[in-house]
Each structure stands twice: as C-alpha cells, then as structure tokens.
Amino acid sequence: DVKVTQSSRYLVKRTGEKVFLECVQDMDHENMFWYRQDPGLGLRLIYFSYDVKMKEKGDIPEGYSVSREKKERFSLILESASTNQTSMYLCASSLQAGGPDEQFFGPGTRLTVL
C-alpha cells in the first residue's frame, strides 16, 4: 500500500514565523502535490513537483514556496506565516501527474496561525 505521511497533524504558529510542512511518500512516485483545504472551497492546489528539484505553481502559490531535494520528500514552506494561512494542508503523490492516475493523500496538517 502507498503510504503518504506528513510531519505534524496539528501545528500552531505565530504571525511572521517561518513554517515548514514535510511530506514523505514511500512508493517511488514521480509526482507530489500540496493542497490547501478550506470549508466550501474544496481542495486548491498550491504547488506540485514532477521530479526532484522541479516544481510548478498551482492555483494559489502566493505566500508559499516548496522544496524537493529527494524523490520521496516534498516540503511546503510558509516564509512568513499570516493568519489567512490558517487552514488544513494536504500532501498527495501519484505515479503520473495527469490522466486517470489516482492521487494518494496524507492525513493532513491542520495549521493555526495566531
């Protein structure tokens, strides 16, 4: 079974702090994704990566950056956290980025910025 893990289930940070969210997958998937989940808005793509050191912006990249130094690990970085970044963050991976391939999701990190 594919396993996608995220470093924290719950995180509380203060405005202006630098925040790192880590995601690891164990199935040698090429593609990894970071989503933000908000009530009524569903999931919105922040960034995705289709290879090591490669990244592309999603729908809402502003205020975020990412890093993929190893195939299995994809990090989301909030350079200076703000209260409007309080949300649930979901990581996912897939064998192929598009088409019929299933995305496998991590358990999510609920981030609160005070």
């Binding site: 569903g42 598009g98 088409g99 019929p100 299933e102 995305q103 991590g106």
Partner: protein, 113 residues
C-alpha cells in the same frame, strides 16, 4: 479554467438506503477524467471511483456507481445500501490529462442509523 461545482454542501441518508451526490463541471475539452474522492472524519482521503470521458459506460465499484452525462457535464455519485462507514466528505474532481486536479467544494454526507 475548469470549474467543478457540488451544489449540496450537506446531505443525510438512512442506513441501507440509496443516496445520490451531484456534481457538475465546466470544460471545453473533449477528453478528460472525473473522480470521486472520500474523506472520512479524521482519516485520509481515498479514491472512490473514476470515469474516463471517452467511455460511455458508467463506472461502478461495488455499492458505488456514477451517472455520467457528458453533454450535460454532470457526474453524480450514487451510493446504494448506505453504511455508517460511508459517513464522510465527498469531493468530485476533474482532470484533463494535464497536471492539475480541480476539486469541487465537497458534500458532507451523514449516514444515520
């Protein structure tokens, strides 16, 4: 840009009954893929069922089936013989074979005993 709309924020159904969740989408593409994902309370999101637009036959996975109406751009999910474990958020999603999956706003389904 593609959009996916789920018009029912919340629904409930009695155990063992059938429920249908609605989803509509907007696209100018002819070939694409549609998905239903399930997110149980405090658990990871999982794929329920997928449909390829070029296939006219509706996809079925055990108690889950879809009604895919390509001309109407509609993709509803039918859950038969509802079980307590079906209680979850359900998300409809669209992919046009590109890199990005577009999700609807979700429908919260409660199965009542």
């Amino acid at each position: 840009a593609q959009t996916v709309t789920q018009s029912q924020p919340e629904m409930s159904v009695q155990e063992a009954e059938t429920v249908t969740l609605s989803c509509t989408y907007d696209t100018s593409e002819n070939n694409y893929y549609l998905f239903w994902y399930k997110q149980p309370p405090s658990r990871q999101m999982i794929l329920v069922i997928r449909q390829e637009a070029y296939k006219q036959q509706n996809a079925t996975e055990n108690r889950f089936s879809v009604n895919f109406q390509k001309a109407a751009k509609s993709f509803s999910l039918k859950i038969s013989d509802s079980q307590l474990g079906d209680t979850a958020m359900y998300f409809c999603a669209y992919n046009n074979a590109g890199n990005m999956l577009t999700f609807g706003g979700g429908t919260r389904l409660m199965v009542k005993p």
